[in-house]
């Protein structure tokens, strides 16, 4: 570990525990707490990655996840950020975007032809000859990737959490810590969030060697640790700031959705690199990167350093270098270096060159020296480290996303927040406050204000602690005749690229971004946007404010898809009889959120099982679980009025004890639901809905009750009531043994409703005929449903009973020509098209959708018809949604189809144009494979057209009941 320093006062590494990993085939040893980059740098590695476009060697730049010079991948994880990710013991890492190896990257050949690859070249090239485009596309795709995606990855999900606090403080630097304490002292709950594993921020690396601040640091950290109402969330960043102060906090364990009443943004600033020739050579880095390297990981950035500075912070970095034994050969100050830190630097005998300009970094594989000018005189120095301290840009993403505006402060040469939304506060360096004492005061007043805002108390006026001198260079850009001055390191964007974009008319910040791709790389402009804005402003003669900035959208840093996915909450409903279905070999299907038996696997195949179920219903008796139907209780003074308004048929004239088909359309007359309504009393109805619409129908009805101002209560009892349909010629005989209810036609006619006990429990019986046989829907409390079902099945054995599933029911109802809403209707179908004009009672004064239906009745163009397939071949079976073609034109589609075991032919329903709807008309159906088959329009119902079987005479029932 040739560059490892002696222990630093605040270092993050644990020297008693080592970590070994492999990088580009070489074994690397570091300490627990190291990040990958620090361990590599400590071992003498300077080339840690290759650039995106030209494959130039890259080392450390920001060392803070503000660039992607060190982008790695393992066998199963891409985009590992070496600057902030700790190495896993024994893990193997490889630099992304290399052809060959990091040391011998064939991709570097691209730089030889770089003059033919100006910005946006791919927008203009490769169009002709056209046949070559696929080859170019393949080549570009191969060249342009960052890392390799292993598509065999398994599903990964990280849990999400909700968290609530009164005040959230983003950033645990000096001002953030002070803000958290000040807010907590007001008695509110505070969450303090920082992306680093430890709180402290710049106080712990920029001021790590300031002895005068030790007490301040200890006080802040100790107080935070002692306050129960401050929750510290470290190693987590605020990925997005959303409405109502919801923060997406991305922690290593998963995403935290944090709700705060007030938010203090203390995110600080990003250090911006200087732009000059070869500023990307390994060894050229931001001064703050060098300070992090030394303070956190005890690694020397270099042996001999030159510091290029435009602010006091550069001198502070020089002092840190000196303390750690690095030879500082010169300070290149772009102005005049008068500040509190320049004095000890000069006293240490370090040459300080004022009014200096950087010209070029020299070196082939890494930095070997710098060329600079002082007062126009060119000079050079040998060095292996060049620290850049030329300015800052606000880490303003949370504020931008909250709706804040920024304006350029010409004294500070920095963008500062101007208008903050209610409940949002800023403090510290993002506010232009640079003195530590002032940062703490600024944090205190922001934290106090945030807490007072929570408590609805008036917020006192703020004291302005903004610095009174510039901490940023107004234009830290030095163009060189030979180029290679990089502004955006992610995308290899140089000065000439942006100049080219501007010259071609892309002279608006958003246009320039999109044409040149500046700020569009993985670090999203953190190290490049400010310099891009400065360049654009200068070249267009505008101010920084006039030039504007791009939009800072979430996510602040890339966020794993597994974090966004979270755990899967996919509610699933089971009917009360589910356990029976499982024991009875049910094959389940999803019906919305429900699991329903599609069929019971009692025979050798699915088809045979379904056929047996159909046969049981037609010839003996079957029982189907219909608990999934929506079930609404409607009661109160205006219940009949509500029912009349909701459904197309008149409901108010129903007798108590009667049932009626209930068809619902929306305002535009489109069929949206159907079911059966029964009347319990003058002011009490009970109505079913389809399985999939129970919740939406309930919501809509509730809304209508309010809109119409009716005195009525609607209760969604779907899950509280179990329901089953007992159907078949033996159903009455069977049921009569389980209830005292008089089931005779006279006492309980078709479409009547009765309330009585079955198997000893209260039940509602409805005589319906959905499947076309004598049948009874039985509705009981959910807790009694399984008992009733079991009793019916037990007793039913002597009546040849079979449970039947959804598929058998579909066939049975198809034989009767009954529609399924949502299958035989679509998002445009009205009752006339569904061939149900009988279900629309226009004599009613009003019902939902009536005005539309009055018009639609005269505009009908299509209709649902029944058909029989003329072909008998098994592979000629059309599918639902297959098109019906006439003279090459589409004239309809199949909505339902099935092979009727009862009728021994293929029957179906189809929505067709009126011209094709006459009985005996021939329909041509286009199969999925393109072949055509013929069908013939027939009358419905296909089965028992007189309905005699669902309303049998007493004599036909063998004297039962």
């Amino acid at each position: 570990m040739m560059r490892r320093l002696s222990p630093q006062p605040l270092e993050w590494i644990n020297r008693s525990q080592s970590v070994t990993f492999v990088f580009e085939g070489e074994e690397i040893k570091g300490f627990d707490g190291d990040v990958i980059s620090s361990a590599l740098w400590a071992q003498g590695h300077k080339v840690l990655g290759r650039s995106f476009k030209y494959h130039r060697r890259r080392g450390l730049l920001s060392f803070a996840n503000h660039d992607i010079n060190v982008m790695l991948q393992t066998a199963d994880t891409p985009n590992v950020r070496g600057d902030v990710v700790q190495p896993e013991q024994g893990q193997t890492y490889k630099a992304v975007n290399t052809f060959g190896s990091l040391a011998q990257d064939k991709g570097a050949l691209v730089e030889w032809i770089s003059k033919f690859l100006p910005v946006g070249f791919y927008y203009k090239a490769f169009y002709s000859p056209k046949f070559l485009f696929p080859k170019w596309e393949r080549l570009i795709r191969e060249m342009a990737g960052l890392g390799t995606v292993d598509t065999s990855w398994g599903e990964r999900r990280q849990p999400k959490r909700y968290r609530h606090c009164d005040v959230a403080v983003i950033g645990a630097g000096p001002s953030g810590m002070a803000a958290a304490i000040a807010a907590a002292k007001q008695g509110v709950d505070v969450c303090l969030i920082d992306e680093n594993p430890y709180i402290g921020g710049s106080l712990d690396y920029q001021y790590a060697n300031e002895e005068a601040l030790e007490v301040t640091r200890d006080d802040l950290k100790t107080t935070i640790a002692e306050m129960d109402n401050i929750q510290v969330i470290t190693s987590a960043f605020v990925a997005g700031f959303y409405g109502d102060n919801w923060l997406a906090v991305n922690s290593q364990q998963g995403l935290i959705k944090l709700s705060a009443q007030s938010v203090v943004v203390a995110t600080g600033v990003f250090e911006q690199p200087a732009v000059f020739r070869n500023n990307d050579l390994p060894g050229v880095m931001n001064a703050s990167a060098a300070q992090r390297l030394m303070a956190r990981y005890a690694v020397a950035p270099c042996k001999e350093a030159v510091v290029l500075t435009a602010n006091p912070e550069g001198y502070r970095a020089a002092l840190d270098l000196i303390k750690n034994g690095v030879v500082v050969k010169a300070i290149l100050d772009t102005g005049c270096g008068e500040n509190s830190w320049s004095v000890p630097v000069k006293q240490a005998g370090i040459p300080v060159f004022e009014n200096a300009a950087i010209i070029e970094a020299k070196g082939r594989k890494a930095l070997q020296g710098v060329v600079y000018a002082v007062n126009g005189v060119q000079q050079s120095l040998d060095c292996d480290g060049l620290l850049m301290s030329v300015g800052w840009a606000p880490a303003g993403a949370p504020l931008y996303q909250a709706g804040s505006k920024f304006a350029y402060n010409a004294i500070l040469e920095q963008l500062l927040p101007q208008e903050l939304p209610q409940g949002v506060f800023a403090c510290g360096r993002i506010n232009g406050v640079f003195e530590i004492v002032d940062q703490i005061k600024d944090g205190q007043q922001a934290g106090m204000a945030a807490a007072l805002a929570v408590q609805d108390k008036s917020v006192p006026d703020f004291t302005d602690y903004t610095a009174t001198r510039a901490h940023s260079h107004s234009y830290p850009i030095w163009q060189h005749p030979k180029g290679k001055e990089f502004i955006d390191f992610d995308e290899d964007i140089q000065i000439k690229d942006l100049k080219g974009a501007i010259a071609q008319g892309f002279d608006n910040i958003e246009l320039m971004k999109r044409f040149s791709t500046i700020g569009m790389g993985p670090s999203q402009g953190k190290h490049s946007n400010m310099n891009g804005i400065r360049l654009l402003a200068k070249l267009t003669g505008k101010s920084i404010d006039q030039t504007g900035s791009t939009t800072a959208r979430p996510m602040f840093h890339p966020t794993e898809v597994s974090h966004l996915a979270g755990m899967r909450f996919r509610p699933e409903r089971l009917t009360p009889m589910h356990a029976f279905h499982q024991q009875a070999k049910a094959k389940f299907m999803e019906a919305g959120v429900w699991l329903r038996p599609e069929y019971y696997a009692t025979e050798s195949s699915r088809e045979a099982s379904i056929a047996a179920e159909v046969a049981a219903v037609r010839n003996a008796v079957g029982l189907i679980d219909v608990s999934t139907l929506g079930k609404l209780e409607v009661f109160g003074r205006d219940s009949a009025e509500l029912m009349d308004r909701l459904y197309t048929m008149r409901m108010s004239n129903m007798a108590v004890g009667a049932s009626r088909y209930a068809l619902m359309v929306d305002d535009s007359g489109v069929v949206i639901d159907d079911g059966v309504a029964v009347r319990y009393s003058d002011e009490h109805f009970y109505v079913t809905t389809t399985t999939s619409t129970s919740d939406s129908a309930y919501r809509m009805i509730q809304k209508k009750v309010i809109e119409w101002g009716l005195k009525v209560t609607v209760l969604n009892r779907t899950g509280q009531i179990g329901a089953m349909n007992l159907a078949g010629p033996n159903s009455r005989q069977l049921l009569s043994q389980l209830t005292d209810l008089d089931l005779s036609n006279e006492a309980f006619p078709y479409l009547a409703m009765r309330q009585a006990k079955v198997c000893g429990v209260d039940a509602t019986f409805i005589r319906v005929g959905f499947v076309g046989e004598l049948g009874y829907e039985i509705h009981v409390s959910a807790q009694d449903a399984e008992h009733v079902w079991q009793q019916i099945m037990l007793l039913g054995e002597s009546f040849a009973i079979k449970p039947f599933g959804v598929e058998a029911q579909r066939q049975l109802r198809l034989e009767k020509g009954h529609i399924i809403v949502g299958q035989d209707t679509d998002g445009l179908t009205n009752p006339f098209e569904a061939n149900m004009p009988w279900a629309v009672h226009f004599k009613k004064t009003y019902f939902l959708g009536k005005p539309s239906l009055v018009r639609l009745k005269t505009l009908q163009k299509r209709i649902l018809v029944g058909f029989e397939l003329l072909s008998a071949a098994a592979d000629d079976m059309p599918l639902e949604s297959n098109l019906i073609i006439d003279d090459g034109e589409m004239v309809g589609r199949v909505t339902s189809i099935g092979r009727s075991a009862t009728l021994q032919k293929v029957i179906g329903l189809a929505m067709v144009e009126l011209a094709c709807s006459q009985v005996d008309s021939e329909l041509t159906i286009k199969l999925s494979d393109g072949r055509m088959v013929s069908a013939k329009v027939v009358k419905t119902p296909f089965y028992d057209p007189q309905g005699l079987l669902q309303k049998p005479q007493e004599s036909a029932l063998g004297g039962a009941a």
């Binding site: 849990p159 999400k160 959490r161 909700y162 968290r163 609530h164 709950d189 364990q253 998963g254 959705k257 709700s259 755990m567 909450f569 996919r570 509610p571 699933e572 409903r573 089971l574 009917t575 009360p576 589910h578 429900w594 608990s627 209780e633 009661f635 109160g636 009490h684 209560t713 209760l715 009892r717 779907t718 899950g719 509280q720 409390s781 959910a782 807790q783």
Partner: protein
């Protein structure tokens, strides 16, 4: 304290749970010594039963099987077969992963209706050292218990 116990969930049947709707619900509260019960609060009764005031026209009430129901005009009673559970340990930590509600706002005695893991549920906020009682539509009961148990077993936060 419940927060130091391991999180556990188990079924807690609440027989006799009824949903009363209609006029003069205050009379039912009065009859059960709960006339002072504020809206969205519950009170424990004997035998694990409770009564909750959900508004002028609505209450939840675990009726005593030994008592007969006497409803006034325009009062309706519907049995509820809700899946009900008892959640012991640091239940607020578990809730933070499945429910958006800010439980800092809740007080012992509160009756809450919230969405948990995508399912509408009601909660009886307990005293600090007592387990949480929660219930949901019976058809979601299996999913509800399974997802909470999975969360308890797999979450790195718990």
């Amino acid at each position: 304290m419940s927060t130091t116990q391991a999180l556990q969930i188990h079924c807690k049947p609440l027989p006799g749970l009824m949903h009363f709707r209609g006029a003069n619900m205050a009379s039912i509260l009065e009859k059960n010594d709960a006339a002072d019960l504020q809206i969205f609060q519950y009170r424990k009764l004997s035998d694990d039963r409770f009564i909750a005031n959900l508004g002028a026209e609505e209450i939840y009430f675990c009726v005593d099987a030994a008592e007969s129901l006497e409803l006034q005009a325009n009062q309706y009673a519907f049995p509820r077969a809700d899946a009900t559970f008892e959640l012991s340990g640091n239940w607020k930590a578990l809730m933070s992963e499945v429910c958006i509600y800010d439980f800092r706002q809740s007080q012992p005695g509160d009756f809450l209706m919230v969405s948990i893991a995508g399912v509408s549920a009601w909660l009886l906020i307990p005293e600090a050292d007592e387990p949480l009682i929660l219930g949901c539509d019976p058809t979601f009961g299996h999913y509800f218990q399974e997802i909470l148990m999975k969360q308890i077993e797999e979450s790195p936060f718990l």
